[in-house]
Symmetry: C2
Subunit: 395 residues, 2 copies
């Protein structure tokens, strides 16, 4: 696998467009399209929220069949908009399919933004010809910008990998920033590849990779109504072989991993990027449960913000997580400094610890000492700005 | 039932003392005792955290037998202190029992404060004679102050009630403020009554009342290592009759309810006190699950702080709670203003809504529309000050 600069525009066989449609705000890209030259296999992972947006319903219905395009709008989530909202999504995708000369149901849609408002459908329908007209390969770099809400920078990652069928490319983009929680981090993410992967393998591998990436980051524990991650891979008569799927998976993992890093780096108001590693859990589920609880604890996250080596809060979060934890087996480290070893608090060099906690990025290691299962979560701190951003983001 | 002013000092048959012991800070009450004139039946509810403090272990072991006294220290949690911490708690309670001429195991202990530090046992042991010497009925009013950590005001409630056995009194105190989450809100709470209730009824009623009070409030979703709620009632040859237990329960409910209100009112950095009512759930568990998710959502709580009628975040939290929720049945109100009715967003008077959200106290009503189960949670907003307090509370 080789890391590539840039993003979607690296992958042959796709074109892109992004326009200012004035959906809720002026002078910003808010409506965009990712279009494959040929029909693709698609796989999707969606919010598990019982209140889910109209475009999520539409994607769930269509992701099993071949897909040509994805249209995406920002600033309005088209959630809690009932049957009208669903019919808006139907009409918009249908219009896009028509503009592309594609199958009606081969267009997917994703939306992000405020909940409870109808999309300005007429305005968007009139914009669709322009969206179709301005498609180009180079426009790939516009997509990450067009899908942002409170993100402070666009997010892309790309890689290439070799198989006996040839060299392929894979790239992705994501938006996140608020409402990021495991089981889907709130985000939209779109991954494309020119590597032909059969539908069944695409489903399995995408699910596995999402669980180890987007479902292992947490910012505020809230799960959105719109979480959508989609991957497109060209439908083909000749798919890469089973034994070469590992190369594809490695590249996909890299792309998703990079997007995760960027999402957590760009968490609303975050000043810290913290990797929480848990080891020594009795089961894999325990490892994940404990890692999530530590990564999600508001008290742990405010301690990170305050540069406070408050391992007691970490122990406490592991203790209430539901995972099997015993005080006398528990060890806690920040970077490689042991703070608690098998239940015994240790003296540590406060100055050195302060220098670690003053860094933008550091890691926490929790050794449960009861088994051999491991898990990793990425998290951020919770700062004044997190509160500010979320108190001021109006309905 | 009659509401009484004041707190613990209202209840005959108990004496109290509180001293400045310099456990971690100077010039503050940090060590106190609640002593019954005679042996009492006790009931206790404790943290479900797998990492629990030494005094929690001690209380769990002793709460089944008759109890004479409870000693409490603030500023140091005696948690993550291993066998030494447990032996410290043993020694301190034993010294107190000796000073009172009571049974060794009839003294309970509770601690609150930072995790991972040994108590200054020698200092505390030397202070115990003074603690025993200064016991008086009037000192009851000192206890709420002596148990505070980041609380900004002491919390007490008292009531009286009549039964055929005579008039009785009940009073309680609590400390909370940070780390407040359901399944036990992090707190210490001590309830005393002169009403003789048999051990079995005391256990049952106390558990039920705690579930409807301390386990139904949430501030930050973190559950502490030290949560302890204890009730004492005189052991007697003559207990109030089964048919009169409802009077006792009503008074206990009132006292716990008042303490809950005060805890949420005093939530770290809180500017809002919000009652979350859920109705129309299919099951009681669903009602509680949905109410807790809404009350605990960081995005909902920052919206409260920002006076933002962001019902979308409320719908979103109900949706991811795990409770059965259907968009087309869901209605959401703030006070009596409908924002969403059976899945349809409604127009509302923004000025009037702003006047509601500007108040210190308001309520949110979520009607799931799928059944008849109800639940209530009390919650606060999350403000800049919450972050400040928790970023600066050092290990």
């Amino acid at each position: 696998m080789q890391i590539l600069n840039g993003g979607l525009e690296q992958v042959p066989g796709y074109s892109f467009s992004a326009i200012e449609c004035g959906i809720r705000k002026k002078d910003r890209l808010d409506f965009c399209a990712i279009v494959a030259d040929t029909l693709c296999n698609a796989a999707g992972m969606f919010t598990t929220n019982k209140i889910f947006a109209a475009p999520v319903r539409l994607c769930r219905e269509r992701v099993g069949s071949p897909v040509r395009a994805i249209i995406v709008n920002a600033t309005n989530a088209n959630a809690c908009t009932g049957l009208e909202g669903y019919s808006d999504a139907l009409n918009l995708t249908e219009a896009m399919a028509k503009a592309l000369g594609a199958e009606k149901k081969s267009v997917l849609m994703a939306s992000t933004g405020v909940i409870g408002h109808r999309l300005p459908v007429d305005k968007m329908l009139s914009a669709i010809p322009a969206l179709a007209r301005s498609l180009s390969h180079e426009n790939g770099s516009l997509i990450p910008k067009a899908i942002m809400t409170t993100d402070t920078f666009p997010k892309s990652a790309a890689a290439s990998f070799s198989t006996p069928l040839g060299e392929f490319k894979i790239a992705g983009t994501a938006k996140g920033s608020g409402m990021i929680a495991p089981n889907m981090a709130t985000l939209l993410s779109f991954i494309i590849t020119d590597c032909p992967v059969n539908k069944k393998s695409l489903d399995t591998i995408f699910k596995r990779c999402i669980n180890n990436s987007f479902n292992s980051i947490t910012i505020d524990g809230d799960m959105s109504t719109n979480d959508t991650a989609l991957i497109l891979s060209p439908a083909s008569r000749l798919y890469i072989k089973k034994e070469d799927l590992a190369d594809f998976e490695e590249a996909l993992e890299y792309v998703l991993g990079e997007l995760c890093r960027m999402l957590v780096m760009d968490a609303e108001g975050a000043t810290k990027f913290v990797t929480v590693n848990v080891a020594g859990a009795k089961t894999d589920a325990d490892a994940r449960t404990a890692a999530r609880a530590v990564a999600q604890s508001l008290l742990v996250k405010t301690a990170f913000f305050g540069k406070d080596p408050n391992w007691g809060r970490i122990a406490c979060a592991a203790g209430y997580s539901g995972a099997l934890v015993k005080e006398e087996n528990l060890s806690i480290y920040i970077e490689d400094v042991a703070l608690l070893q098998k239940g015994r608090p240790l003296e540590f060099d406060k100055k050195f610890m302060d220098s670690i906690l003053s860094k933008r990025e550091f890691s926490v290691f929790v050794d449960i000492g009861l088994g051999s299962s491991r898990a990793q979560f990425l998290t951020s701190d919770i700062s004044y700005d997190y509160v500010k951003i979320n108190a001021e983001y109006t309905t």
